[in-house]
């Protein structure tokens, strides 16, 4: 299946990005998927970046979009999983578009109770708890893996 993994990054200052996009893309390729990645340049005015991302429609790219770091949750795709990790949303949903970005997602997952709690403070929808990526890859631990959520949505 063709999948798109997206996150944000701050050019020059944080080229590694806001989420685990690269390791996730590699893990998905290892599972036989064809994967491309989007990296949204952030670091300028937040509202302007949010609007630019909201205008970016990638609906016809791949069967699913995995938004693994802000502001990728604002991208438009009919089958989007928003993955909240660490302190991604420690400032809450402070852009008006954040709600829309979450509301339209097919699934919202968090890889820790803390990440889940931060989003629960401002967004009322269902946030599934999944294992962190390393544990998902090895199948360790009791939490379900992000791959099982993906397989459920692509089935």
């Amino acid at each position: 299946v063709r999948l798109v993994v997206a996150d944000g990054f701050r050019p020059f200052l944080d080229e590694r990005g806001t989420g685990p996009a690269q390791p996730l893309a590699e893990a998905l390729r290892a599972r036989g998927h064809e994967v491309d990645t989007i990296r949204i340049p952030a670091g300028g005015d937040d509202a302007q970046t949010a609007l630019a991302t909201r205008l970016t429609d990638v609906s016809d790219a791949g069967a699913m979009l995995l938004a693994v770091g802000p502001p990728a949750h604002l991208l438009v795709h009919p089958c989007k999983i928003v993955w909240c990790t660490g302190e991604d949303f420690s400032h809450g949903g402070d852009q008006p578009a954040d709600h829309a970005g979450f509301d339209e997602a097919r699934a919202v997952v968090a890889d820790s109770p803390q990440a889940q709690g931060l989003v629960r403070e401002w967004w009322p929808g269902t946030i599934e708890l999944v294992a962190p990526l390393a544990a998902s890859r090895t199948g360790a631990g009791s939490a379900k893996s992000v791959f099982s959520v993906l397989e459920r949505l692509t089935a």
Binding site: D36, G44, T49, A52, V58
Partner: protein, 345 residues
């Protein structure tokens, strides 16, 4: 210097534009600059999305960059105080492809207003720019001059790879490229019906769409063509491509109005002549008939005659290939020249 290289991203597609951006990033890094590669996704259907993506690019800022080098529509609308344009092409559907089967944008009131918005936004950008615009070929420059009051300067992109060589010519001509309607490989396959010299055609590249793949497969069902055409319908490694180039009689490269065309440079770097067409665009800036290659009409018989002409005078084919190689060396198509030009503006 912190340099951001900004390009357009079409997801799951890799072609010449991506190669060029990667080459530029590598050359800048090699020269000691700190580089960030930025790709802005682009979708052009329905027509309104073009406007959305244009606005998204305008809203994108890269505050930590000292310099932005912007390559392609709509990403070249990114905002920065110090932006150099090195344009691969504009949105051709709104310019030279308008009124052709490849127009893409609807020819109705709304489509025309989208087209006008693209023209106006490009025009503003080009009038405001103080650095450049540089473009990748005279062909792209000439299209730009037809729609805007600008004087773009041509800065030819070098090849990204090394290791090209020349070996004794065997009995085949080579066409390495993604298979699609605009590259017209099916026209060259049709031409092979008319070839009398016994020379074969080797195509290397996968099809861009299932439709063109099916068309090619159906053509190659013909037993006559099966004997004369070999299609390597897979990703061909760089080493294999160099080897196929080196042992060929010459290259056939017959796109419709190509922006630039790395295939011409690859062929000449391997000291092999190029057969192209009168309407192929970029390759015509390098191919001089009888000197570095042959120029055919976009008709099977004409292309077949050019292939037979190469086969009929192999000494001339060798001479033309070497002249092509010599021409490239004289033109100084190098990354050092590209960086000197882009960074001095």
């Amino acid at each position: 210097v912190r340099v951001a290289v900004v390009n357009t991203q079409v997801l799951f597609v890799r072609g010449g534009a991506e190669q060029l951006a990667d080459g530029l990033v590598g050359a800048l890094q090699g020269a000691g600059h700190e580089v960030s590669s930025i790709r802005l996704p682009f979708r052009w259907h329905p027509d309104d999305r073009i406007l959305d993506h244009m606005l998204a690019a305008q809203l994108t800022t890269i505050p930590d960059a000292d310099l932005v080098i912007a390559l392609k529509f709509p990403a070249y609308h990114v905002s920065h105080a110090r932006k150099v344009l090195w344009i691969l092409h504009q949105h051709r559907q709104a310019y030279d492809l308008w009124g052709t089967p490849w127009q893409g944008i609807a020819d109705d009131g709304h489509g025309r207003s989208v087209r006008r918005a693209i023209h106006d936004t490009d025009e503003r950008l080009l009038q405001e720019t103080t650095h450049g615009p540089h473009v990748i070929s005279e062909n792209v420059a000439s299209r730009m001059r037809a729609s805007h009051d600008v004087s773009p300067s041509v800065l030819y992109p070098p090849l990204m790879d090394v290791g090209y060589f020349c070996a004794e010519a065997e009995d085949y001509v080579f066409y390495p490229s993604r298979i699609n309607v605009l590259k017209r490989q099916t026209l060259v396959v049709e031409a092979m019906r008319h070839v009398r010299s016994g020379v074969r055609l080797i195509l290397a590249g996968t099809a861009d769409t299932p439709e063109i793949e099916a068309e090619m497969e159906s053509l190659l069902d013909d037993p006559v063509l099966q004997d004369r055409v070999r299609w390597l319908n897979r990703w061909v490694s760089h080493a294999d491509k160099l080897d196929l180039l080196a042992r060929s009689l010459g290259t056939v490269f017959t796109p419709v109005d190509e922006d630039y065309g790395y295939v011409t440079l690859e062929s000449f770097t391997s000291d092999k002549p190029v057969i192209t067409c009168v309407d192929s665009g970029g390759p015509l800036e390098f191919v001089t008939p009888g000197v570095t290659g042959l120029i055919a009409d976009p008709e099977p018989e004409s292309i077949a005659a050019a292939i037979d002409a190469l086969a009929g005078d192999r000494e001339a084919a060798v001479r033309m290939g070497q002249a092509g190689g010599e021409q490239l060396r004289e033109r100084d198509i190098s990354w050092s020249h590209v960086l000197d030009t882009l960074l001095s503006t």
